[in-house]
Amino acid sequence: MKNKQRPLSPHLQIYKPQLTSSLSIFHRFSALIMLGGVLALIGFFYSIAMKSELYACFSSAVAMLWGKALLSIFILFFWFFVGTSLRYLVWDTGRGFELKNVYASGFFVLIMSVVLTAFSVLALWGKLA
């Protein structure tokens, strides 16, 4: 077969970047980050129950700036994941597919995830300080 090197779907390498495709890609990326979060949460829980040295690592990490920054980025991805997931659940009902609405909901998800991240991070930093 001659054409065996043709690109296979989902054609990321020939796709022009736009809001719709970027949100789709970042939704999948955020799902991977969420999986990392679940695994980290298991690690944190393990450190509470079993390993005091590991717990000391976790608690000194969130006391430092890079730990707080990492946590804030995670929270941003969390709110983004919540937003895009709700958007997909609405789409599952067959609504919101007009191009205008797809862009509107996309921008809404982006803005809401930044706003909710700001609120959560401020609340969290206030407690951690």
Partner: protein
């Protein structure tokens, strides 16, 4: 003869997608809705309670029946949901059949391992508290 590189999940009669498509779709949505609710609960208690607790108080908190139930649900639903998400990503982007099967087995083993660590930790925590 078609090389392995050209085969996609659709052409693969042993692939899971077309065999259990509808039930996977429903399981994905149900676990997503559960995960969103449980993770919002956990973010809320993290900001309001958990940040002010030390390790001993955290151990007591995780042993509370309501907290133990919801946290166990969060971790199990999370592992299950992101297993489905990751499976979808692997099935979409890894085109070599051997690598695809290998990755799916590896991912499943890692997630099962994380689940076992989680159960072991909770049993240990309950026995020693």
């Amino acid at each position: 003869m078609m090389s392995d590189h050209c085969k996609t999940g659709v052409q693969n009669p042993g692939g899971s997608v077309q065999k259990r498509g509808a039930s996977t779709w429903i399981a994905h949505r149900v676990s997503l809705v559960l995960f969103l609710g449980l993770s919002l609960w956990f973010l809320n208690v993290t900001i309001s309670d958990l940040t002010s607790l030390n390790r001993e108080a955290l151990r007591v908190w995780f042993c509370g029946p309501k907290n133990a139930f919801l946290f166990t649900m969060l971790i199990s639903v999370g592992l299950y949901h992101f297993w489905l998400e990751l499976k979808e990503i692997v099935e979409d982007y890894i085109h070599c059949q051997h690598l695809k099967r290998g990755s799916l087995i590896a991912v499943r083993m890692i997630l099962c391992g994380a689940g076992i660590v989680f159960i072991y930790t909770y049993v240990h925590l309950f026995i020693n508290s």
